[in-house]
Symmetry: C2
Subunit: 318 residues, 2 copies
Protein backbone atom coordinates (compact mmCIF):
# COMPACT_ATOMS: atom_id res chain seq x y z
CA UNK A 1 0.00 0.00 0.00
CA UNK A 2 1.30 3.40 -1.01
CA UNK A 3 2.28 5.43 2.05
CA UNK A 4 3.16 9.09 2.59
CA UNK A 5 6.57 9.25 4.24
CA UNK A 6 8.77 12.04 5.53
CA UNK A 7 12.44 11.43 6.30
CA UNK A 8 14.84 13.94 7.86
CA UNK A 9 18.48 14.47 6.92
CA UNK A 10 17.86 13.12 3.44
CA UNK A 11 20.44 15.17 1.53
CA UNK A 12 23.11 12.47 1.98
CA UNK A 13 24.06 9.23 3.73
CA UNK A 14 21.46 6.77 5.04
CA UNK A 15 18.79 9.45 4.48
CA UNK A 16 19.36 9.88 0.75
CA UNK A 17 19.69 6.12 0.19
CA UNK A 18 16.54 5.38 2.20
CA UNK A 19 14.43 8.08 0.53
CA UNK A 20 15.27 6.58 -2.89
CA UNK A 21 14.71 2.99 -1.78
CA UNK A 22 11.29 3.87 -0.32
CA UNK A 23 10.31 5.74 -3.48
CA UNK A 24 11.33 2.72 -5.56
CA UNK A 25 9.05 0.63 -3.34
CA UNK A 26 6.11 2.75 -4.50
CA UNK A 27 5.69 5.27 -1.71
CA UNK A 28 5.38 9.05 -1.77
CA UNK A 29 8.58 10.17 -0.08
CA UNK A 30 9.39 13.64 1.20
CA UNK A 31 13.16 13.94 1.48
CA UNK A 32 13.64 16.54 4.22
CA UNK A 33 16.75 18.70 4.11
CA UNK A 34 17.73 22.26 4.88
CA UNK A 35 18.99 24.89 2.46
CA UNK A 36 17.08 23.41 -0.49
CA UNK A 37 17.67 26.58 -2.48
CA UNK A 38 21.20 27.05 -1.13
CA UNK A 39 23.96 24.54 -0.55
CA UNK A 40 21.62 21.56 -1.02
CA UNK A 41 20.15 22.85 -4.30
CA UNK A 42 22.20 20.24 -6.15
CA UNK A 43 20.75 17.48 -3.93
CA UNK A 44 17.24 18.73 -4.72
CA UNK A 45 18.00 18.60 -8.42
CA UNK A 46 19.46 15.09 -8.10
CA UNK A 47 16.33 13.90 -6.28
CA UNK A 48 14.12 15.45 -8.97
CA UNK A 49 16.15 13.80 -11.73
CA UNK A 50 16.08 10.48 -9.87
CA UNK A 51 12.32 10.69 -9.49
CA UNK A 52 11.82 11.38 -13.19
CA UNK A 53 14.31 8.79 -14.39
CA UNK A 54 12.84 5.99 -12.25
CA UNK A 55 9.23 7.11 -12.50
CA UNK A 56 8.92 7.30 -8.71
CA UNK A 57 7.46 9.87 -6.31
CA UNK A 58 10.44 11.41 -4.52
CA UNK A 59 9.95 15.04 -3.44
CA UNK A 60 12.40 17.30 -1.63
CA UNK A 61 11.07 19.43 1.19
CA UNK A 62 12.76 22.28 3.06
CA UNK A 63 13.09 20.92 6.60
CA UNK A 64 15.71 22.25 9.00
CA UNK A 65 15.40 19.92 12.01
CA UNK A 66 16.85 22.59 14.31
CA UNK A 67 14.10 25.09 13.49
CA UNK A 68 10.58 24.76 14.86
CA UNK A 69 9.19 27.05 12.14
CA UNK A 70 10.88 25.15 9.32
CA UNK A 71 9.69 21.78 10.65
CA UNK A 72 6.11 23.03 11.06
CA UNK A 73 6.04 24.44 7.55
CA UNK A 74 7.31 21.15 6.10
CA UNK A 75 4.71 19.05 7.91
CA UNK A 76 1.93 21.48 6.95
CA UNK A 77 2.98 21.34 3.32
CA UNK A 78 2.89 17.53 3.30
CA UNK A 79 -0.56 17.38 4.92
CA UNK A 80 -1.80 20.06 2.51
CA UNK A 81 -0.50 18.14 -0.51
CA UNK A 82 -1.38 14.58 0.54
CA UNK A 83 -3.98 14.94 3.29
CA UNK A 84 -2.00 12.54 5.45
CA UNK A 85 1.37 11.37 6.79
CA UNK A 86 1.76 7.65 7.39
CA UNK A 87 5.42 7.37 8.32
CA UNK A 88 7.93 9.68 10.00
CA UNK A 89 11.59 8.68 9.83
CA UNK A 90 14.04 10.36 12.23
CA UNK A 91 17.35 10.11 10.43
CA UNK A 92 19.09 13.50 10.69
CA UNK A 93 22.32 13.30 12.64
CA UNK A 94 25.83 14.60 12.96
CA UNK A 95 29.03 13.24 14.49
CA UNK A 96 32.12 14.72 16.09
CA UNK A 97 35.52 13.21 16.84
CA UNK A 98 38.03 14.07 19.57
CA UNK A 99 38.71 13.81 23.32
CA UNK A 100 35.60 14.39 25.43
CA UNK A 101 37.42 16.90 27.62
CA UNK A 102 38.24 19.11 24.61
CA UNK A 103 34.62 19.65 23.57
CA UNK A 104 32.89 22.64 25.16
CA UNK A 105 29.49 22.17 26.82
CA UNK A 106 28.10 24.25 23.93
CA UNK A 107 29.41 21.69 21.45
CA UNK A 108 27.76 18.89 23.41
CA UNK A 109 24.53 20.91 23.37
CA UNK A 110 24.79 21.41 19.61
CA UNK A 111 25.17 17.67 18.99
CA UNK A 112 22.16 17.02 21.25
CA UNK A 113 20.21 19.57 19.28
CA UNK A 114 20.95 18.00 15.89
CA UNK A 115 20.64 14.35 16.94
CA UNK A 116 17.90 14.46 19.58
CA UNK A 117 16.00 17.75 19.84
CA UNK A 118 15.54 17.50 16.06
CA UNK A 119 13.26 14.51 16.64
CA UNK A 120 11.27 16.43 19.24
CA UNK A 121 10.66 19.32 16.80
CA UNK A 122 9.43 16.84 14.19
CA UNK A 123 7.36 14.79 16.63
CA UNK A 124 5.58 17.81 18.05
CA UNK A 125 4.71 18.95 14.53
CA UNK A 126 3.73 15.55 13.07
CA UNK A 127 2.33 13.42 15.90
CA UNK A 128 -1.05 15.17 16.20
CA UNK A 129 -1.66 14.15 12.58
CA UNK A 130 -0.36 10.60 13.13
CA UNK A 131 -2.44 10.17 16.29
CA UNK A 132 -5.53 11.41 14.47
CA UNK A 133 -4.99 8.90 11.65
CA UNK A 134 -3.87 5.88 13.69
CA UNK A 135 -2.19 2.88 11.96
CA UNK A 136 0.88 5.07 11.46
CA UNK A 137 4.58 4.51 12.04
CA UNK A 138 7.58 6.31 13.53
CA UNK A 139 11.05 5.02 12.57
CA UNK A 140 14.16 6.08 14.49
CA UNK A 141 17.68 5.70 13.10
CA UNK A 142 19.57 4.93 16.30
CA UNK A 143 23.16 3.67 16.53
CA UNK A 144 24.77 0.47 17.75
CA UNK A 145 26.96 2.73 19.91
CA UNK A 146 24.00 3.32 22.23
CA UNK A 147 24.29 -0.23 23.53
CA UNK A 148 27.27 -1.87 21.83
CA UNK A 149 31.01 -1.61 22.31
CA UNK A 150 32.41 1.89 21.80
CA UNK A 151 35.90 3.22 21.02
CA UNK A 152 37.22 6.51 22.49
CA UNK A 153 36.79 9.97 20.97
CA UNK A 154 33.15 9.92 19.89
CA UNK A 155 31.58 10.95 23.20
CA UNK A 156 29.26 13.85 22.23
CA UNK A 157 27.80 11.74 19.41
CA UNK A 158 27.53 8.57 21.48
CA UNK A 159 25.84 10.47 24.32
CA UNK A 160 23.33 12.00 21.92
CA UNK A 161 22.54 8.69 20.21
CA UNK A 162 22.08 6.96 23.58
CA UNK A 163 19.60 9.70 24.47
CA UNK A 164 17.85 9.37 21.11
CA UNK A 165 17.47 5.61 21.55
CA UNK A 166 16.07 6.13 25.04
CA UNK A 167 13.60 8.70 23.70
CA UNK A 168 12.51 6.31 20.96
CA UNK A 169 11.73 3.67 23.59
CA UNK A 170 9.76 6.16 25.70
CA UNK A 171 7.74 7.30 22.70
CA UNK A 172 7.12 3.69 21.62
CA UNK A 173 5.15 3.07 24.81
CA UNK A 174 3.44 6.44 24.97
CA UNK A 175 2.21 6.29 21.35
CA UNK A 176 1.11 2.63 21.23
CA UNK A 177 -2.48 3.23 22.36
CA UNK A 178 -2.82 6.07 19.84
CA UNK A 179 -2.34 3.51 17.09
CA UNK A 180 1.23 4.54 16.31
CA UNK A 181 3.84 1.84 15.83
CA UNK A 182 7.56 2.33 16.50
CA UNK A 183 10.57 0.71 14.85
CA UNK A 184 14.13 1.49 15.90
CA UNK A 185 16.78 0.88 13.26
CA UNK A 186 20.21 0.20 14.76
CA UNK A 187 23.06 0.58 12.26
CA UNK A 188 26.57 -0.34 13.27
CA UNK A 189 29.56 1.77 12.24
CA UNK A 190 29.67 2.24 8.48
CA UNK A 191 32.98 4.08 8.08
CA UNK A 192 32.75 3.94 4.28
CA UNK A 193 29.95 4.66 1.82
CA UNK A 194 28.61 7.78 3.58
CA UNK A 195 30.20 11.07 4.59
CA UNK A 196 29.19 10.58 8.26
CA UNK A 197 32.75 10.06 9.51
CA UNK A 198 34.39 12.42 7.00
CA UNK A 199 32.12 15.30 8.09
CA UNK A 200 32.69 14.75 11.83
CA UNK A 201 33.17 17.94 13.86
CA UNK A 202 36.33 18.69 15.86
CA UNK A 203 36.76 19.90 19.46
CA UNK A 204 36.72 23.67 19.93
CA UNK A 205 39.30 23.60 22.72
CA UNK A 206 42.42 23.00 20.66
CA UNK A 207 44.79 23.38 23.62
CA UNK A 208 43.03 20.62 25.55
CA UNK A 209 42.96 18.42 22.44
CA UNK A 210 46.72 18.93 22.10
CA UNK A 211 47.29 17.64 25.63
CA UNK A 212 45.59 14.40 24.66
CA UNK A 213 47.45 14.24 21.34
CA UNK A 214 50.79 14.65 23.14
CA UNK A 215 49.97 12.57 26.20
CA UNK A 216 49.51 8.87 26.96
CA UNK A 217 46.46 8.96 24.69
CA UNK A 218 48.55 10.00 21.66
CA UNK A 219 47.46 6.98 19.60
CA UNK A 220 43.70 7.27 20.26
CA UNK A 221 43.04 9.60 17.31
CA UNK A 222 44.27 6.92 14.94
CA UNK A 223 43.37 3.71 16.78
CA UNK A 224 39.75 4.67 17.50
CA UNK A 225 38.85 5.27 13.89
CA UNK A 226 41.10 2.68 12.27
CA UNK A 227 39.99 0.14 14.85
CA UNK A 228 36.35 0.64 13.92
CA UNK A 229 37.15 0.45 10.23
CA UNK A 230 39.14 -2.77 10.78
CA UNK A 231 36.13 -4.46 12.39
CA UNK A 232 34.06 -3.84 9.29
CA UNK A 233 33.95 -6.84 6.95
CA UNK A 234 34.76 -6.10 3.30
CA UNK A 235 31.61 -5.27 1.38
CA UNK A 236 29.74 -3.73 4.32
CA UNK A 237 27.30 -1.46 2.52
CA UNK A 238 25.12 1.31 3.98
CA UNK A 239 22.50 0.41 1.36
CA UNK A 240 21.63 -2.47 3.72
CA UNK A 241 20.21 0.10 6.15
CA UNK A 242 17.91 1.52 3.47
CA UNK A 243 16.79 -1.98 2.53
CA UNK A 244 15.97 -2.78 6.16
CA UNK A 245 13.89 0.39 6.50
CA UNK A 246 11.89 -0.41 3.35
CA UNK A 247 11.18 -3.86 4.76
CA UNK A 248 9.92 -2.35 8.03
CA UNK A 249 7.69 0.17 6.25
CA UNK A 250 6.28 -2.54 3.96
CA UNK A 251 5.45 -4.84 6.90
CA UNK A 252 1.76 -4.67 7.94
CA UNK A 253 0.77 -2.46 10.86
CA UNK A 254 1.12 -4.20 14.22
CA UNK A 255 3.63 -6.75 12.87
CA UNK A 256 6.70 -4.54 12.64
CA UNK A 257 9.70 -5.27 14.86
CA UNK A 258 10.59 -2.84 17.67
CA UNK A 259 14.22 -3.09 16.58
CA UNK A 260 16.23 -4.07 13.53
CA UNK A 261 20.05 -4.29 13.71
CA UNK A 262 22.24 -3.80 10.65
CA UNK A 263 25.70 -4.14 12.08
CA UNK A 264 28.25 -5.96 9.91
CA UNK A 265 30.95 -5.35 12.58
CA UNK A 266 28.91 -7.13 15.27
CA UNK A 267 29.81 -4.71 18.05
CA UNK A 268 27.42 -6.42 20.46
CA UNK A 269 24.51 -3.98 20.38
CA UNK A 270 22.13 -6.67 19.12
CA UNK A 271 22.85 -8.85 22.14
CA UNK A 272 22.58 -5.99 24.65
CA UNK A 273 19.39 -4.63 23.09
CA UNK A 274 17.77 -8.08 23.14
CA UNK A 275 18.27 -8.19 26.88
CA UNK A 276 17.30 -4.55 27.36
CA UNK A 277 14.10 -4.80 25.34
CA UNK A 278 13.19 -7.93 27.28
CA UNK A 279 13.60 -6.30 30.71
CA UNK A 280 11.59 -3.33 29.41
CA UNK A 281 8.76 -5.67 28.42
CA UNK A 282 8.98 -7.37 31.81
CA UNK A 283 8.74 -4.06 33.67
CA UNK A 284 5.79 -2.84 31.64
CA UNK A 285 3.94 -6.10 32.35
CA UNK A 286 4.81 -5.89 36.06
CA UNK A 287 3.24 -2.43 36.32
CA UNK A 288 0.16 -3.43 34.32
CA UNK A 289 1.06 -1.78 31.01
CA UNK A 290 1.88 -4.87 28.97
CA UNK A 291 -0.59 -3.79 26.29
CA UNK A 292 1.66 -0.88 25.18
CA UNK A 293 4.31 -3.31 23.92
CA UNK A 294 2.29 -3.36 20.70
CA UNK A 295 0.29 -0.57 19.04
CA UNK A 296 -3.49 -0.63 19.38
CA UNK A 297 -5.52 -1.05 16.22
CA UNK A 298 -7.74 1.91 15.29
CA UNK A 299 -10.69 2.07 17.63
CA UNK A 300 -8.52 0.67 20.40
CA UNK A 301 -7.56 4.18 21.27
CA UNK A 302 -11.16 4.95 22.06
CA UNK A 303 -11.23 2.33 24.80
CA UNK A 304 -12.61 3.87 27.97
CA UNK A 305 -9.92 4.89 30.44
CA UNK A 306 -12.10 3.34 33.18
CA UNK A 307 -11.12 -0.13 31.95
CA UNK A 308 -7.49 0.84 32.38
CA UNK A 309 -8.10 2.28 35.81
CA UNK A 310 -8.64 -1.21 37.27
CA UNK A 311 -5.18 -2.15 36.24
CA UNK A 312 -3.74 1.04 37.69
CA UNK A 313 -5.36 0.25 41.03
CA UNK A 314 -3.75 -3.17 41.02
CA UNK A 315 -0.39 -1.54 40.45
CA UNK A 316 -0.69 0.69 43.48
CA UNK A 317 1.33 -0.05 46.60
CA UNK A 318 -0.76 -1.46 49.47
Amino acid sequence: MKQVIVITGASSGFGALTARALARSGHTVYAGMRATTGRNAAQVEQARAYSQEHGVDLRSVELDVQSDASVKAAIERIVAECGRIDVVIHNAGHMSFGPAEAFTPEQFAELYDINVLSTQHVNRAALPQLRKQGRSLVVWISSSSARGGTPPYLSPYFAAKAAMDSLAVSYAGELARWGIETSIIVPGAFTKGTSHFAHAGAPADKARAEEYANGPTADFGEVAFKGLAALEPPGANPEAVATAIVKVVDTPFGKRPLRVHIDPSEDGAEIVNSVADRVRAELLRRIGLGDILKPSAPGGRRQAPSARADRSRRARPE
Copy 2:
Protein backbone atom coordinates in the same frame (compact mmCIF):
# COMPACT_ATOMS: atom_id res chain seq x y z
CA MET B 1 43.51 7.51 53.45
CA LYS B 2 41.91 10.95 53.72
CA GLN B 3 40.80 12.21 50.32
CA VAL B 4 39.62 15.58 49.03
CA ILE B 5 36.23 15.11 47.42
CA VAL B 6 33.80 17.39 45.59
CA ILE B 7 30.21 16.30 44.98
CA THR B 8 27.62 18.22 42.95
CA GLY B 9 23.94 18.62 43.79
CA ALA B 10 24.63 18.09 47.48
CA SER B 11 21.87 20.26 48.94
CA SER B 12 19.45 17.32 49.09
CA GLY B 13 18.80 13.70 48.06
CA PHE B 14 21.61 11.27 47.28
CA GLY B 15 24.04 14.21 47.26
CA ALA B 16 23.40 15.38 50.80
CA LEU B 17 23.38 11.80 52.14
CA THR B 18 26.61 10.93 50.30
CA ALA B 19 28.46 14.08 51.36
CA ARG B 20 27.71 13.27 55.02
CA ALA B 21 28.59 9.59 54.68
CA LEU B 22 31.93 10.41 53.04
CA ALA B 23 32.72 12.99 55.73
CA ARG B 24 31.95 10.38 58.42
CA SER B 25 34.41 8.08 56.66
CA GLY B 26 37.17 10.63 57.34
CA HIS B 27 37.37 12.54 54.06
CA THR B 28 37.37 16.27 53.32
CA VAL B 29 34.10 16.73 51.47
CA TYR B 30 33.02 19.78 49.50
CA ALA B 31 29.24 19.69 49.18
CA GLY B 32 28.57 21.61 45.96
CA MET B 33 25.28 23.47 45.64
CA ARG B 34 24.01 26.71 44.13
CA ALA B 35 22.49 29.67 45.99
CA THR B 36 24.49 28.99 49.15
CA THR B 37 23.63 32.45 50.45
CA GLY B 38 20.08 32.33 49.04
CA ARG B 39 17.57 29.53 49.03
CA ASN B 40 20.13 26.93 50.09
CA ALA B 41 21.45 28.99 53.02
CA ALA B 42 19.61 26.64 55.39
CA GLN B 43 21.32 23.61 53.79
CA VAL B 44 24.69 25.31 54.25
CA GLU B 45 23.93 25.90 57.93
CA GLN B 46 22.77 22.28 58.35
CA ALA B 47 26.00 21.01 56.79
CA ARG B 48 28.03 23.27 59.10
CA ALA B 49 26.13 22.06 62.16
CA TYR B 50 26.50 18.42 61.03
CA SER B 51 30.22 18.89 60.58
CA GLN B 52 30.65 20.40 64.05
CA GLU B 53 28.37 17.88 65.79
CA HIS B 54 30.10 14.84 64.29
CA GLY B 55 33.62 16.29 64.27
CA VAL B 56 33.94 15.72 60.51
CA ASP B 57 35.18 17.83 57.60
CA LEU B 58 32.09 18.70 55.55
CA ARG B 59 32.29 22.05 53.74
CA SER B 60 29.69 23.68 51.51
CA VAL B 61 30.87 25.29 48.29
CA GLU B 62 28.96 27.51 45.88
CA LEU B 63 28.75 25.42 42.71
CA ASP B 64 26.06 25.99 40.10
CA VAL B 65 26.60 23.13 37.65
CA GLN B 66 24.96 25.11 34.85
CA SER B 67 27.47 27.97 35.11
CA ASP B 68 31.02 27.65 33.81
CA ALA B 69 32.20 30.55 35.97
CA SER B 70 30.65 29.15 39.14
CA VAL B 71 32.12 25.68 38.55
CA LYS B 72 35.59 27.12 37.85
CA ALA B 73 35.50 29.25 40.99
CA ALA B 74 34.50 26.24 43.10
CA ILE B 75 37.28 24.02 41.74
CA GLU B 76 39.83 26.82 42.16
CA ARG B 77 38.77 27.36 45.75
CA ILE B 78 39.18 23.67 46.57
CA VAL B 79 42.63 23.47 44.98
CA ALA B 80 43.63 26.70 46.76
CA GLU B 81 42.48 25.36 50.15
CA CYS B 82 43.65 21.73 49.85
CA GLY B 83 46.25 21.72 47.07
CA ARG B 84 44.48 18.77 45.45
CA ILE B 85 41.23 17.07 44.42
CA ASP B 86 41.17 13.28 44.62
CA VAL B 87 37.56 12.51 43.80
CA VAL B 88 34.88 14.22 41.70
CA ILE B 89 31.31 12.97 42.12
CA HIS B 90 28.77 13.89 39.43
CA ASN B 91 25.47 13.74 41.27
CA ALA B 92 23.43 16.84 40.32
CA GLY B 93 20.26 15.96 38.48
CA HIS B 94 16.67 16.86 37.92
CA MET B 95 13.61 14.95 36.73
CA SER B 96 10.41 15.80 34.90
CA PHE B 97 7.17 13.88 34.51
CA GLY B 98 4.62 13.93 31.68
CA PRO B 99 4.00 12.84 28.08
CA ALA B 100 7.07 13.22 25.87
CA GLU B 101 5.08 15.04 23.21
CA ALA B 102 4.05 17.75 25.70
CA PHE B 103 7.60 18.82 26.57
CA THR B 104 9.09 21.55 24.40
CA PRO B 105 12.52 21.02 22.82
CA GLU B 106 13.69 23.77 25.20
CA GLN B 107 12.60 21.68 28.18
CA PHE B 108 14.49 18.68 26.82
CA ALA B 109 17.54 20.94 26.41
CA GLU B 110 17.20 22.20 29.98
CA LEU B 111 17.13 18.64 31.39
CA TYR B 112 20.20 17.78 29.29
CA ASP B 113 21.91 20.85 30.65
CA ILE B 114 21.28 19.96 34.30
CA ASN B 115 21.90 16.22 34.03
CA VAL B 116 24.65 16.00 31.40
CA LEU B 117 26.27 19.31 30.45
CA SER B 118 26.71 19.88 34.20
CA THR B 119 29.25 17.06 34.23
CA GLN B 120 31.08 18.56 31.28
CA HIS B 121 31.42 21.92 33.05
CA VAL B 122 32.83 20.17 36.11
CA ASN B 123 35.09 17.82 34.13
CA ARG B 124 36.62 20.62 32.11
CA ALA B 125 37.35 22.54 35.30
CA ALA B 126 38.60 19.63 37.42
CA LEU B 127 40.19 17.07 35.10
CA PRO B 128 43.43 18.99 34.39
CA GLN B 129 44.09 18.82 38.16
CA LEU B 130 43.10 15.13 38.37
CA ARG B 131 45.25 14.24 35.36
CA LYS B 132 48.20 16.08 36.87
CA GLN B 133 47.83 14.18 40.14
CA GLY B 134 46.98 10.72 38.78
CA ARG B 135 45.56 8.04 41.13
CA SER B 136 42.31 10.00 41.18
CA LEU B 137 38.68 9.02 40.77
CA VAL B 138 35.55 10.21 38.96
CA VAL B 139 32.20 8.87 40.21
CA TRP B 140 29.04 9.23 38.12
CA ILE B 141 25.55 8.85 39.58
CA SER B 142 23.75 7.28 36.63
CA SER B 143 20.30 5.69 36.70
CA SER B 144 18.97 2.18 36.21
CA SER B 145 16.61 3.74 33.63
CA ALA B 146 19.54 4.08 31.21
CA ARG B 147 19.55 0.32 30.70
CA GLY B 148 16.70 -1.16 32.73
CA GLY B 149 12.96 -1.31 32.26
CA THR B 150 11.28 2.07 32.03
CA PRO B 151 7.68 3.25 32.52
CA PRO B 152 6.09 6.01 30.40
CA TYR B 153 6.22 9.76 31.15
CA LEU B 154 9.84 10.24 32.19
CA SER B 155 11.34 10.68 28.72
CA PRO B 156 13.40 13.89 29.04
CA TYR B 157 14.99 12.56 32.22
CA PHE B 158 15.56 9.05 30.87
CA ALA B 159 17.10 10.45 27.68
CA ALA B 160 19.46 12.66 29.68
CA LYS B 161 20.50 9.86 32.04
CA ALA B 162 21.14 7.51 29.10
CA ALA B 163 23.40 10.20 27.64
CA MET B 164 25.13 10.72 30.98
CA ASP B 165 25.83 7.01 31.34
CA SER B 166 27.21 6.89 27.79
CA LEU B 167 29.44 9.89 28.55
CA ALA B 168 30.71 8.23 31.73
CA VAL B 169 31.74 5.17 29.71
CA SER B 170 33.51 7.32 27.10
CA TYR B 171 35.40 9.23 29.79
CA ALA B 172 36.32 6.00 31.58
CA GLY B 173 38.36 4.88 28.59
CA GLU B 174 39.79 8.27 27.70
CA LEU B 175 40.98 8.99 31.26
CA ALA B 176 42.38 5.56 32.14
CA ARG B 177 45.93 6.20 30.90
CA TRP B 178 45.99 9.53 32.73
CA GLY B 179 45.71 7.58 35.98
CA ILE B 180 42.06 8.43 36.55
CA GLU B 181 39.68 5.69 37.62
CA THR B 182 35.95 5.72 36.89
CA SER B 183 33.06 4.22 38.85
CA ILE B 184 29.47 4.48 37.69
CA ILE B 185 26.85 4.19 40.43
CA VAL B 186 23.49 2.93 39.13
CA PRO B 187 20.62 3.59 41.52
CA GLY B 188 17.20 2.19 40.77
CA ALA B 189 14.03 4.20 41.35
CA PHE B 190 13.84 5.44 44.94
CA THR B 191 10.41 7.03 44.98
CA LYS B 192 10.60 7.72 48.72
CA GLY B 193 13.31 9.19 50.94
CA THR B 194 14.39 11.95 48.56
CA SER B 195 12.54 14.83 46.88
CA HIS B 196 13.63 13.65 43.40
CA PHE B 197 10.13 12.59 42.32
CA ALA B 198 8.28 15.28 44.28
CA HIS B 199 10.32 18.03 42.61
CA ALA B 200 9.81 16.68 39.07
CA GLY B 201 9.09 19.32 36.42
CA ALA B 202 5.92 19.35 34.32
CA PRO B 203 5.41 19.75 30.55
CA ALA B 204 5.14 23.33 29.32
CA ASP B 205 2.60 22.46 26.62
CA LYS B 206 -0.50 22.03 28.79
CA ALA B 207 -2.87 21.60 25.85
CA ARG B 208 -0.87 18.66 24.52
CA ALA B 209 -0.62 17.16 28.02
CA GLU B 210 -4.42 17.40 28.29
CA GLU B 211 -4.86 15.38 25.10
CA TYR B 212 -2.90 12.54 26.70
CA ALA B 213 -4.77 12.93 30.00
CA ASN B 214 -8.10 12.69 28.20
CA GLY B 215 -7.09 10.09 25.63
CA PRO B 216 -6.31 6.36 25.67
CA THR B 217 -3.29 7.17 27.83
CA ALA B 218 -5.49 8.63 30.60
CA ASP B 219 -4.17 6.24 33.25
CA PHE B 220 -0.43 6.70 32.50
CA GLY B 221 0.00 9.63 34.89
CA GLU B 222 -1.00 7.43 37.77
CA VAL B 223 0.17 3.98 36.64
CA ALA B 224 3.69 5.07 35.69
CA PHE B 225 4.52 6.49 39.10
CA LYS B 226 2.47 4.11 41.23
CA GLY B 227 3.80 1.19 39.24
CA LEU B 228 7.39 2.18 39.99
CA ALA B 229 6.56 2.69 43.66
CA ALA B 230 4.85 -0.70 43.81
CA LEU B 231 8.01 -2.45 42.58
CA GLU B 232 10.02 -1.02 45.46
CA PRO B 233 10.33 -3.45 48.36
CA PRO B 234 9.42 -2.03 51.79
CA GLY B 235 12.48 -0.58 53.47
CA ALA B 236 14.24 0.50 50.24
CA ASN B 237 16.46 3.29 51.51
CA PRO B 238 18.42 5.86 49.48
CA GLU B 239 21.08 5.76 52.21
CA ALA B 240 22.21 2.53 50.50
CA VAL B 241 23.43 4.65 47.59
CA ALA B 242 25.57 6.78 49.89
CA THR B 243 26.98 3.66 51.53
CA ALA B 244 27.89 2.20 48.14
CA ILE B 245 29.71 5.38 47.13
CA VAL B 246 31.72 5.43 50.36
CA LYS B 247 32.76 1.85 49.70
CA VAL B 248 33.91 2.73 46.17
CA VAL B 249 35.89 5.75 47.37
CA ASP B 250 37.51 3.71 50.17
CA THR B 251 38.56 0.92 47.76
CA PRO B 252 42.23 1.19 46.69
CA PHE B 253 43.05 2.80 43.35
CA GLY B 254 42.89 0.36 40.43
CA LYS B 255 40.59 -2.03 42.32
CA ARG B 256 37.33 -0.10 42.08
CA PRO B 257 34.42 -1.53 40.09
CA LEU B 258 33.37 0.19 36.84
CA ARG B 259 29.76 -0.15 38.01
CA VAL B 260 27.81 -0.63 41.21
CA HIS B 261 24.04 -1.20 41.10
CA ILE B 262 21.78 -0.28 44.02
CA ASP B 263 18.37 -1.21 42.72
CA PRO B 264 15.96 -2.74 45.24
CA SER B 265 13.25 -2.93 42.54
CA GLU B 266 15.46 -5.06 40.27
CA ASP B 267 14.38 -3.37 37.04
CA GLY B 268 16.94 -5.34 35.04
CA ALA B 269 19.63 -2.69 34.56
CA GLU B 270 22.21 -4.84 36.35
CA ILE B 271 21.72 -7.65 33.84
CA VAL B 272 21.76 -5.39 30.79
CA ASN B 273 24.80 -3.45 32.01
CA SER B 274 26.72 -6.68 32.67
CA VAL B 275 26.26 -7.63 29.03
CA ALA B 276 26.92 -4.09 27.78
CA ASP B 277 30.10 -3.66 29.80
CA ARG B 278 31.29 -7.02 28.54
CA VAL B 279 30.77 -6.18 24.84
CA ARG B 280 32.52 -2.86 25.49
CA ALA B 281 35.53 -4.70 26.91
CA GLU B 282 35.49 -7.06 23.97
CA LEU B 283 35.46 -4.21 21.44
CA LEU B 284 38.29 -2.36 23.15
CA ARG B 285 40.41 -5.53 23.12
CA ARG B 286 39.57 -6.17 19.47
CA ILE B 287 40.83 -2.72 18.46
CA GLY B 288 43.96 -3.02 20.60
CA LEU B 289 42.90 -0.78 23.50
CA GLY B 290 42.32 -3.44 26.15
CA ASP B 291 44.66 -1.62 28.55
CA ILE B 292 42.17 1.26 29.02
CA LEU B 293 39.72 -1.07 30.78
CA LYS B 294 41.72 -0.28 33.92
CA PRO B 295 43.44 2.97 34.93
CA SER B 296 47.21 3.15 34.60
CA ALA B 297 49.23 3.59 37.76
CA PRO B 298 51.20 6.86 38.03
CA GLY B 299 54.17 6.76 35.71
CA GLY B 300 52.17 4.59 33.34
CA ARG B 301 50.86 7.72 31.75
CA ARG B 302 54.38 8.65 30.72
CA GLN B 303 54.71 5.51 28.62
CA ALA B 304 55.98 6.44 25.16
CA PRO B 305 53.23 6.65 22.54
CA SER B 306 55.58 4.75 20.20
CA ALA B 307 54.90 1.54 22.13
CA ARG B 308 51.20 2.10 21.53
CA ALA B 309 51.74 2.78 17.85
CA ASP B 310 52.57 -0.88 17.23
CA ARG B 311 49.17 -1.82 18.46
CA SER B 312 47.50 0.84 16.36
CA ARG B 313 49.22 -0.50 13.25
CA ARG B 314 47.89 -3.97 14.00
CA ALA B 315 44.38 -2.56 14.26
CA ARG B 316 44.52 -0.97 10.82
CA PRO B 317 42.63 -2.47 7.94
CA GLU B 318 44.85 -4.29 5.45
